[in-house]
């Protein structure tokens, strides 16, 4: 039978005194998100064919696709509505959507939480409305 004694964890606790802190000093030290992290969604207007499967599958209605011209589509993502499940990325047949490692999305201005990817620009430059 095991001997019963108090202060079983005392050794562990004392050894922690000479160890470095386990935490990262976050805002000063940035850390990389793993490869398949589900962060902010990026849209490639040139790949979109306007099938709207992403709109249909989005659990929080955060994504809207509008036709702006012949085979040209514009995408609006509401960052405040998005739950970052990346289902739209899976649903997209043409890989026009991609999840990035960006996660620092807190914002004081509500208007900045609306992101529009314009069809004209080459790589979807962010423009606030």
């Amino acid at each position: 039978m095991n001997m019963i004694r108090p202060g079983k964890m005392i050794r562990q606790v004392l050894s922690s005194l000479i160890k470095k802190p386990a935490t990262i000093k976050y805002p000063y030290v940035k850390f990389e998100m793993p490869e398949n992290f589900r962060g902010k969604i990026k849209f490639y207007p040139e790949k979109c064919i306007g099938c709207k499967l992403c709109v249909r599958d989005c659990p929080s209605n955060a994504i809207t696709i509008t036709k702006v011209g012949e085979k040209k589509f514009e995408c609006e993502i509401r960052l405040d509505k998005c739950i970052y499940c990346a289902q739209c990325v899976d649903s997209c047949l043409k890989k026009a959507l991609e999840s990035t490692g960006e996660f620092e999305l807190a914002q004081l201005d509500k208007k900045k939480l609306k992101e529009i990817f314009h069809a004209q620009s080459e790589d979807g430059i962010k423009k606030e409305t």
Binding site: K8, R38, A86, S91
Partner: protein, 395 residues
Amino acid sequence: MGKVIIPIGPQHPALKEPESFSVTLEGEKIVDVNLRLGYNHRGIEKACEERTYIQDIYILERVCGICSHSHSTCFVQTVEEIAGVEIPERAKYIRTIVAELERIHSHLLWLGVAGHEIGFDTLFMYTWRDREIVMMILKKVTGNRVNYGINTIGGVRRDISQELLKEILTSVDALEERTKYYIQVATQETTLMNRLLNVGKLSHEDAVLTGAIGPTGRASGIDSDTRRDDPYAAYDKVTFKVIVDNHNDVYGRTLVRVLELMEAYSIIRQSVQNMTEGPITVKVPRKIPAGEAFGRYEAPRGEDVHYVKSNGTEKPERVKVRAPTLANIKPVLKMLENYNLADLPIIVAAIDPCFSCTDRTLLIKDKKSNKSKIMDWESLRKYSIEWYKKRGIGF
């Protein structure tokens, strides 16, 4: 001595979630407990009926933050049963691995919370530090620390690469080392044993009568585990022990959880070994054929049950969720009897409660006329103003 009724909750430092206990005391002894649910009702079941099956996976995942994989897997399995789909082998193993990683994180979290409730914060700090290992691995495998979103109807969404599998194995080794240490702490540390032994007794008979499930039931000698009794995912292809303990108290529940961690490590190792290359999804049509099914899943807290009825469209007709805490609420009321008020936090925490999963709307009936009344927003507001006026608070 006269009896005193003390309200604990909906907001109380000892409870992490809004729940109301009104405890009748005789001196320090608890003689009766009344529980009221419904402070955290979110209407998820109804919301599921308005959304498609794919959208439902994500909303059901958010029933519970800690057992999110449990709820989504349970729902997905049920829908797959209605659709008559057999998912690929590899998908089954991936579901098993994520499920066990989730169990590890949930049990380590519970061990910390239990330590915190009895004032043993050292244990809390160390278990939560070690829990970070499994959280990191979950983030790498699924893309998020909680709400993994790995399930889809017909399989899983992400494959696990060979390097990641190796990484899982190394973190499992590190965690096993730590768990062995916690088993030593649980069996040798006198403070822990003196505080937990003979607290919150629930005899085997009472546990059967009140329908205790999961680690709570297994600590009272109920030998039941959905993973073994009704295997899902890849649990029929791995061997593991169902931990049963006869302490019947909070100490027993601690032992069951700590020893279950060791079984989880062995399940992960076997799954990684048995995994074969292959596809991870099969195509399932958006419209699920009409039918109904009942799904069972062993969540870290106990058996989770989902019922889905489909009417042949893209949206389900009915989704019913029975979260494990709902079954373990009744035993808690039994456990609390004849203990001191100071034992309440640890006894309630010992079932690993998750009240927001459990919440239901209450329909209050008038005893005399046996009729219920529906109040709209306006009349509810009027009623509340009147209620406060009667007690001398004006608006």
